[in-house]
């Protein structure tokens, strides 16, 4: 997805010891059979905590600095800010576990039939909407169909994750009145029939937020955006918090849902305070945290690496450094004749010193993955891919092979033309751009940095494929499956970079065609090797995300900011 509302203005740092999430994956795999016979496989029922919460934990409110979503209707609005916000008041059938594996949420168990050609979801019977109505399978069918509704222009990208469901494409095209593959034989069972196996169905599609059919069923999809319930009045969900009010540009006020099926949240109230991407806002946020006007900030509002020491030194706050939200990378436009030869791309990669970026820019606090997959999907990451890094001599040699030689000013030239490359980007380019510029100069490349605001860069430059080299960062930390960004950014034929590897495209398709994680991993491993050899992108690093929050606020430890924000129900004040 795009970093719509805010740029990651200053990258974060702090290397977290990376504990493989293989454990949870192993449990999952062990539970699934993988033989020729296809008995339905069961997943354990979610444990409901019946132990009453100690009363000293309950109470109090938290003010959190967060970018507001465009609307409180996640079906219409599937961008990053929505993904952070909606778990406060909605649920999906599944939710991501510590390794992004699917855990039961509204569905207490499910069966994977025929290795993923069909699913049976058994819904909880004890869930009530914020207005007291019972949650049923009709809500699920309604929500999924609204996502794929032909009038839902904005939600179209999520519909892509349902496109393998029987009848979804017809429905989207307006040729059917419902999606035939989604059946609700009884109020608490949802059966899904697929045209082909789509591995991310459990992690992505089934994790989509469910909306109440009794509120939205009669509203035309075209009118949903303008409906008051999208704007905070009468917003009904199943989540741990209820929406009290939304004052645009200022705050969203939430109160505890005391009837939440997993037990009420500890906090009585949660106020999401709007923050903005404009430069003065960074200092404003830090001030608010320091004086205690804000009790938590992370994700796009996280503390910049430079200020971590300052916040840590304050008696009021603490810092928690998590695996970063975004993988910063540089993308070549392979349609540009300059970059057609892989040696050119390799040479520029050699000119890049990733360690200097990490130490100098992110103060040592960053992870690195040589591929388009976030560290949270540890099972899919290939640790042994070729990386062309930090070797100016090799770079110059490769340039030489291509006919570029250093002129008297140290800049490479060929046929009288200098190697001067425009480097375009928005958010974050102001931070790593100058460093890269200086690094590449040593190899003889002259870079023209063109940093612009998001709106000017995204449409007119990047999506129009007019970029030469683009500096990008995508919020991978939000994606519950490695497949998520592939379609939009990497799949040959659909990507903007012009990377057209046939094997790459094949691998991306194969990786979702089986539910067996070990097999998927094989495909992703090979994909990363192919990409690493082709160098359509330069992966720079994943700066850590530094959460700042009040010392007395207890927040469960999770690996990423997104998983942390999803634990809001369990936050509490100690020393009350």
């Amino acid at each position: 997805m795009n970093n719509l509302e805010i740029k990651i203005y200053k990258p974060n740092r702090w290397l977290l010891r990376f504990i493989p999430a293989a454990l949870s994956a192993l449990v999952f795999l062990a539970a699934c059979g993988s033989d020729d016979a296809t008995p339905p496989t069961m997943v354990p029922v979610a444990a409901v905590t019946d132990t009453p919460v100690p009363t000293s934990k309950v109470g109090g409110g938290v003010v959190m600095s967060l970018n507001h979503p465009q609307s409180l209707n996640p079906i219409l609005n599937p961008v990053s800010t929505t993904i952070f916000n909606s778990p406060f008041f909605f649920n999906g059938l599944t939710k991501p576990g510590d390794g992004m594996e699917p855990l039961p949420d509204l569905a207490e168990k499910w069966e994977i039939v025929d290795k993923g050609l069909s699913y049976n979801f058994y819904l909880r019977k004890d869930v009530r909407w914020h207005d007291g109505e019972q949650f049923t399978a009709a809500d699920v069918k309604f929500s999924w169909e609204a996502t794929c509704h032909p009038d839902n222009a904005r939600g179209a990208q999520i519909c892509g994750f349902f496109s393998a469901v029987k009848g979804a494409i017809d429905f989207k095209a307006g040729n059917a009145t419902s999606i035939s593959g989604i059946k609700t034989p009884d109020p608490f069972t949802v059966q899904v029939e697929m045209n082909q196996i789509f591995a991310p169905f459990l992690t992505v599609s089934a994790a989509q937020m469910i909306l109440p059919e009794h509120v939205w069923g009669k509203v035309a999809v075209k009118e949903m955006g303008a409906h008051p319930a999208s704007r905070g009045t009468g917003t009904i969900g199943t989540g741990p918090f209820k929406v009290n009010s939304w004052t645009a540009n200022e705050k969203i006020e939430l109160e505890a849902n005391t009837d939440y099926y997993e037990g009420r949240p500890n906090l009585d109230s949660l106020i999401l305070r709007q923050t903005s991407p404009a430069p003065p806002a960074i200092a404003a946020r830090l001030s608010q945290l320091k004086v205690g006007e804000v009790h938590a900030m992370g994700l796009y509002a996280a503390v910049p690496a430079d200020h971590v020491a300052e916040i840590e030194a304050s008696s009021r706050n603490q810092i928690r450094s998590l695996t970063g939200l975004a993988n910063q990378y540089v993308e070549f436009n392979l349609r540009n004749p300059l970059f057609k030869d892989v040696r050119m791309r390799k040479a520029i990669s050699y000119a890049t010193n990733r360690n200097e970026l990490k130490e100098g820019l992110w103060l040592g606090k960053a992870d690195f993955v040589n591929g388009p997959i976030h560290p949270i999907h540890s099972w899919a990451i290939n640790p042994n891919t070729p990386l062309f890094d930090n070797d100016v001599d090799k770079a110059v040699a490769l340039f030489g092979e291509l006919g570029w030689t250093k002129g008297s000013d140290g800049i490479l030239q060929k046929d009288g033309k200098k190697l001067s490359i425009p480097f375009q980007g928005c958010c974050g380019l102001a931070s790593y751009g100058p460093v890269l510029q200086q690094q590449w100069k040593r190899a003889g490349i002259q870079v023209e940095l063109e940093a612009m605001d998001f709106g000017s860069f995204w449409g007119p430059v990047y999506l129009a494929k007019k970029h030469v080299i683009a500096g990008l960062n995508l919020p991978y930390g939000l994606y519950t499956d490695p497949e998520y960004p592939m379609g939009g950014y990497f799949t040959p034929g659909r990507n903007r970079s012009g990377w057209d590897s046939a094997r790459g495209k094949e691998l991306i398709g194969l990786a979702t065609s089986t539910s067996d994680q070990k097999e998927r991993a094989k495909y992703y491993f090979e994909l990363q090797t192919v990409m690493a050899n082709d160098v359509p992108n330069l992966w720079l690093g994943i700066p850590q995300e530094h959460w700042g929050f009040a010392k007395d606020l207890v927040i469960p430890e999770k690996k990423t900011g997104y998983l942390t924000v999803r634990t809001a129900k369990d936050w509490y004040w100690k020393n009350r």
Binding site: A278, P279, P280, I282, A283, L286, P304, D306, H307, E310, E356, E359, G360, L361, P422, A430, G433, P434, V435, Q437, Q438, E448, L449, E450, A451, M452, D453, G455, S456, F457, P460, V461
Partner: protein, 277 residues
């Protein structure tokens, strides 16, 4: 010669010379980063300290001055030219032309210029390379601030129009253009000059404000405004990062205002009237 004028001239000459001589007097390249020396206070080699990329603040102030000064001066030229043109024509010809032009002027005055600037600058940024970004700013700044000058000029022209010798020249058959150029304008030169110098100060502040918001000059090119903005979060640990560019803005604008005041006193001592616009 009054003291204000002299101080103002001194400041502006200093600023202009450093801007022009930037390639020679700047101790470091403004873009060169020394990541290991980031956020250091003033030292021997970094007289005003370093920023968060380890770049020399003094050098960036000098180079930023080139941008801020040139933008301010060029925008002023546009603003004053258009203002004089509109004001003189409007005041001189009167009636229908005056009515139309004055409505147009009111339109520009009615527009909260800052909003319009934000709009235009935010919209037009992408198609321009960073070094050329000033080229968009300049006409926009100029075209949103001519209205005030136009009104003032018009007022002066109206006053002068009534004078006897103008009527005399007119009756002799001199062409309108000639009258305007030869007889009217020279009499309001002092007003024009004062207005122009004050305008530069205002425009520099506006550009600084826009860059502060992230809409004017973009990184990595330095302008005093975006340096203040970048330095804002570091106020506690590296106050020099914000304070010195802020001082640069202040002193330069002060210089222009002092010149304006001084000129006003010199050229028209009767009018002890302050007109800050």
């Amino acid at each position: 010669m009054n003291s204000r004028f002299i101080v103002g001239v001194f400041i502006i000459v200093l600023a202009t010379v450093s801007a022009l001589a930037a390639p020679w007097i700047s101790p470091h390249s403004p873009e060169h980063q020394e990541l290991l020396s980031r956020l250091q206070g003033p030292t021997g080699s970094y007289l005003l300290g370093t920023d968060n990329f380890g770049r020399d603040i003094l050098s960036r102030i000098i180079w930023g001055g080139r941008v801020s000064l040139s933008v301010g001066l060029l925008a002023m030229v546009i603003a004053v030219s258009v203002g004089v043109l509109v004001g003189a024509i409007s005041g001189y010809f009167g009636r229908a032309i005056d009515a139309i032009l004055m409505r147009f002027t009111e339109l520009m005055l009615v527009f909260p210029a800052f909003f319009l600037l934000i709009l235009v600058v935010a919209s037009f940024q992408e198609s321009v390379r960073p070094e050329d970004r000033g080229m968009i700013l300049v006409p926009m700044l100029g075209l949103t601030s001519w209205a005030v000058s136009a009104r003032i000029i018009r007022g002066e022209v109206l006053k002068i129009k009534q004078r006897d010798y103008i009527l005399a020249v007119h009756s002799v058959g001199a062409g309108n253009a000639r009258i305007i150029m030869r007889h009217i304008l020279p009499n309001i030169v002092s007003v024009i000059i004062v207005s122009a110098t004050v305008r530069v100060g205002v425009l520099i502040l506006v550009e600084a404000g826009l860059s502060f918001l992230g809409l004017g000059i973009q990184q990595p090119q330095s302008s005093w405004g975006n340096m203040v903005s970048d330095g804002f979060p570091y106020m506690r640990q590296a106050w020099w990062f914000t304070v010195f560019p802020g001082l640069a803005i202040f002193i330069t604008v002060l210089g222009f205002n002092l010149i304006g005041e001084g000129l006003r006193d010199l050229l028209d001592p009767r009018s002890g009237k302050g007109r800050a616009v």
